[in-house]
């Protein structure tokens, strides 16, 4: 096979890259999902002060710093053996719910939405937020922008900064809410609930009522039978901020349920020489390569996974949607990757409802937001559900609380193997010998990983930014046939 | 070829610089490796001078002030006494050996003490070998 010379120049677009190789017959031989950067947080965290970790590790990702800030802060509670006052916990969760609303909204309307609302094969020029607004109307457009800004406002108010919050401390938080602020939050929460309902209606009208889309969602090209992971509360309902990690097998049966401290018994990471990103898998099953099914340790950790891994939602409206979700898609678990978009909307609704509950909690304006740690720090693990998956921070310190070892299993990374597989499967299904490769077709391949809402900044705690991804297709002679990029559209 | 360290020395105008002068006046012999820069008070020596010296290729830095209580400016040398240990702690984190940076006290009448400090430091730094942290490797950052 002719040597393909890929000097860095030919791959300088963006930070993630997928290479697809065709065989002589012009069929897809194989594909590789590569991440070309590393920053080494696990190493340079060593020697830092434990309490600085929420602010240091969130620099892994400026797209979802709130998730890292939270996971890290919770790891510190565990590390210093300190239990924050209940108002502090509620304020953290409130902050986190606001974050969920903005983050999911961004993804659905700005990244994924266009594919459905405008249609997978609509012209690139229209396949973006502006096109979406044009189609669904300014009212919804305004609602989208409003939902993002308002909830960002909550993040700013509590976290201290718009991007990269500073308020997390072992045993609590540095800043609370006063009554005026609470009123603001309550209003934003109400609006957000309405916005979530509206969004679900949009999905209904445009996707579910459209046979063609529904078939696409259910088509095999976008289907993988894998394990699913998600954080659940004591009643096995979806929870983003706290609880235990639950894993269900491809048949939807509980495979494992573990507390943060036990994560090492359940998750392991595989290294490939051709990417800086590692590939997590279920330890008890082992790494069997890039294959799905019950015998492969590959699992997924996405909104869809969280719904599959749970028995329901903790808020009424979201629970109703949850039930409708499974009845519509033919029962649990749902393996269709594209259904992730719908699952994401269900989560927005839950986040908004929970936000409203918390904003009305009598404790929420309490000044009692910190417990000063007194125990000697040693080891701590903190887990939250990041929008893109289960996020684990694990620190070991000396008796002064200086980091000796840090380990991070980051949301997006969980899905590294799945993404690789999804792309290959879609490519195999869509790229046929002799069939012309149109932009639309390439976009359909792109749609295979977009549901994962890949955040490659997270991806290797290591890699930079929301993922613009490049796909390069080579023929059997190693010549580039086609390349395409996925981009976050403003 | 055997390695001769380059050491930058900071002396205060009133005590240690005079101590160094006295060493000369008394024709005491000492290692030529320490090149002295005169400041009015050891309190003027800011940490950047020391990191700058290393950046520019020094193998060691010697800071000499008046003995505690003898400072011409009453307590400038106490400020130095506060800064240097913290700086050394930080340099330690950056892999710079303790012997490469030395703070000591020499009075105007201690030419002999000046000589012994200079010779001792030179010997220690010579033993450590050249300071390099490869920060300047063009391509590799």
């Amino acid at each position: 096979m002719k040597k393909i010379t890929i000097d860095p120049i030919t791959r300088l677009e963006g930070h993630g890259k997928i290479e697809i190789f065709l065989n002589d017959a012009g069929e897809v031989e194989n594909s590789y999902f590569q991440v070309p950067e590393l920053r080494g947080f696990e190493k340079f965290s060593e020697g830092r002060l434990a309490e600085d970790m929420p602010q240091i590790t969130q620099r892994i990702c400026g797209v979802c710093p709130e998730a890292h800030h939270m996971a890290s802060t919770k790891a510190l509670d565990d590390l210093f053996h300190v239990d924050p006052p209940s108002p502090a916990k509620k304020l953290r969760e409130l902050f986190y719910m606001a974050f969920y609303v903005t983050d999911h909204t961004t993804h659905f309307y700005i990244l994924a939405g266009p594919d459905f609302i405008m249609g997978p094969e609509s012209p690139v020029a229209e396949r973006n937020i502006l096109g979406v607004i044009a189609k669904v109307g300014l009212e919804l457009g305004g609602a989208v922008i409003n939902a993002r800004m308002q909830n960002h406002h909550i993040i700013h108010m509590l976290g201290g900064r718009a991007v990269h919050p500073v308020f997390g401390l072992p045993g609590g938080i540095s800043k609370g809410l006063n009554e005026e602020e609470r009123k603001e939050v309550e209003q934003i929460a109400k609006d957000s609930v309405e916005f979530a309902k509206l969004s679900l209606k949009v999905f209904d009208d445009i996707v579910l009522k459209n046979k063609e889309y529904l078939d696409m969602v259910l088509s095999d090209a976008y289907t993988h039978r894998t394990y699913y992971m998600g954080l659940v509360d004591e009643k096995n309902r979806v929870n983003f901020y706290d609880g235990k990690v639950r894993v269900v097998d491809p048949d939807g049966k509980e495979f494992a349920k573990y507390a943060p401290r036990e994560y090492l018994d359940h998750v392991a990471e595989h290294v490939e020489p051709w990417s800086y990103m590692k590939f997590p898998y279920l330890k008890k099953i082992g790494w069997k390569g890039f294959v799905d099914g019950k015998d492969s340790g590959v699992f997924r950790s996405t909104p869809l996974s969280r719904l599959n891994a749970a028995d329901g939602m903790a808020t009424p409206l979201a629970q109703a949607e949850y039930e409708r979700f499974y009845s519509t898609l033919g029962g649990k678990p749902v393996h269709q990757t594209l259904a992730t978009h719908w699952a994401r909307l269900v989560e927005i609704l839950y986040a908004a409802e929970r936000l409203l509950e918390l904003s009305r909690d009598p404790e929420i304006t309490s000044p009692n937001i910190r417990t000063i740690p007194t125990a000697t720090p040693d080891e701590g693990v903190g887990i939250v559900e990041a929008p893109r998956g289960t996020l684990t921070h694990h620190y070991i310190t000396d008796e002064k609380g200086i980091i000796k070892k840090a380990n991070l299993i980051v949301a997006t990374v969980n899905n590294a193997a799945a993404v690789n597989m999804s792309v290959k499967k879609a490519a195999m299904a869509l790229i046929k010998p002799g069939k012309k490769i149109t932009e639309g077709l390439l976009n359909r391949i792109e749609m295979a990983w977009r549901p994962y809402d890949l955040c490659l900044a997270c991806a290797t705690h290591t890699l930079s930014g929301q993922a613009p991804m490049e796909v390069v297709i080579y023929n059997s002679k190693g010549e580039v046939v086609e390349r395409l990029g996925q981009h976050l559209r403003p | 070829m055997n390695f001769e360290p380059k050491i930058v020395g900071f002396c205060c105008n009133w005590c240690s610089y005079r101590g160094a002068d006295l060493a000369g006046t008394a024709r005491m012999k000492c290692s030529p490796n320490v090149r002295i820069i005169r400041v009015m008070c050891s309190g003027r020596v800011e940490p950047t001078f020391i990191t700058k010296a290393f950046e520019l290729g020094a193998d060691g830095v010697l800071v000499l002030g008046c003995h505690a209580g003898d400072c011409h400016y009453v307590e400038g040398n106490y400020k130095t006494m506060r800064r240097m240990p913290l700086l050394k702690k930080m340099l330690g984190q950056l892999g710079i050996e303790d012997e490469r940076v030395r703070l000591d006290w020499v009075s105007a009448s201690e030419g002999d003490r000046f000589v012994s400090i200079v010779d001792d430091m030179t010997a220690k730094v010579r033993a450590l070998g050249p300071f390099k942290n490869n920060s300047k490797e063009a391509k590799h950052g």
Binding site: G160, S174, G465 | K52
Partner: protein, 319 residues
């Protein structure tokens, strides 16, 4: 008049700078009126080869964020310098190395060892490490080279302006963009912020003379709301950090960590921060001084949180 040709790029960074750029919200539209964004990997589908094809200096302004850690990033910085009339280091990573710059306390070997072998969740007995070139059955895959040392953009190419912050506050970003839009760019080398003085000048907390008998860690005390945090023993970088951010962190009861970089004329932010802090230690007794200093457990991480690669020493000496 012809629209400005604007390019935005990231290197070793977290994407927070992109979010910060999006944060200017509706002002984006105002920007769109006067500027065409010709390159923005995160948002716009312009291929690399199109940029490469652009003539020299055909881009009016390039906002570049992120530090330089890999061969790819270095190459990209050089190319964008060549194509751009004005190159702006946007954000703490491009300016001073940022948080990833803390990697300079180690080197590639140590970082790889930790990331791909040592971490408890990693299963890699064969010690497989990512290779810049690797042969797979179907062909050869390559990834960029990972350098030993993180460099700032300024250490890689000539930089015209700096917009500091991790990430820059919305108002700081807009200050720079406004200058661009109105063609009122300050003299080359300017760090663009609302305040050339240190963060203290922005900070509403009350300041008195400084004397510190003990340094506290953020989790150890609940600071008085109105009083300077440093006076309360918290290592607040506000004294050694350029203002213009509005001091949000001290107002959230947390110390400034220095993301806006040094004030003009300061050669080494960390060294100056260190010197100031040490100077106000309230003791003349060597033993007591040592005891007080023992309360500062991580000088590098504290004083050089965002600027180690930009410091005079740039990196640690690895034995």
């Amino acid at each position: 008049m012809a629209k400005l040709k604007l390019a935005l790029y990231w290197a070793s960074s977290c994407g927070g700078c992109e979010i910060a750029q999006l944060q200017i919200g509706d002002k984006l539209l105002k920007l769109a009126e006067v500027a065409d964004i010709v390159f923005w990997p995160v948002a716009i589908d312009v291929k690399y080869k199109d940029v490469e094809a652009m003539p020299e200096k055909s881009i009016d302004v390039c906002l570049f964020n992120g530090a330089i850690r890999t061969s790819e990033q270095e190459h990209m910085a050089k190319m964008l310098r060549e194509k751009s009339k004005v190159l702006i280091a946007y954000g703490a990573c491009a300016y001073g190395g940022g948080i990833p710059g803390l990697g300079n306390m180690f080197n590639r070997e140590l970082i790889f060892e930790r990331a791909y072998v040592e971490t408890p969740s990693t299963d890699n007995k064969e010690k497989v490490f990512p290779q810049t070139k690797y042969k797979v059955p179907e062909g050869e895959l390559t990834i960029p080279e990972f350098y030993d040392t993180v460099k700032t953009l300024g250490q890689t190419v000539d930089v015209d302006y700096v917009v500091p912050g991790c990430p820059p506050e919305e108002k700081t970003t807009w200050l720079a963009l406004e200058a661009l839009i109105e063609g009122k760019l300050p003299p080359k080398g300017t760090v663009i912020t609302h305040n050339a003085k240190a963060v203290c000048d922005d900070c509403p907390r009350k300041r008195d003379v400084k004397k510190v008998k003990k340094f506290y860690r953020t989790f150890e005390i609940i600071p008085e709301p109105e009083i300077c945090l440093l006076e309360q023993g918290l290592l607040c970088a506000g004294i050694a950090t350029r203002g213009g951010c509005g001091a949000p962190c001290p107002q959230a009861n947390m110390p400034c960590t220095g993301c806006y970089g040094p004030v003009d004329g300061v050669i080494d932010q960390g060294a100056h921060f260190l010197s100031a802090v040490a100077s106000v230690i309230d003791s003349n007794d060597p033993e007591e001084i040592q005891r007080i200093i023992a309360g500062i457990h991580d000088p590098v991480g504290t004083f050089y949180r965002y600027s180690l690669p930009d410091s005079l020493l740039r990196r640690a000496k690895i034995k």
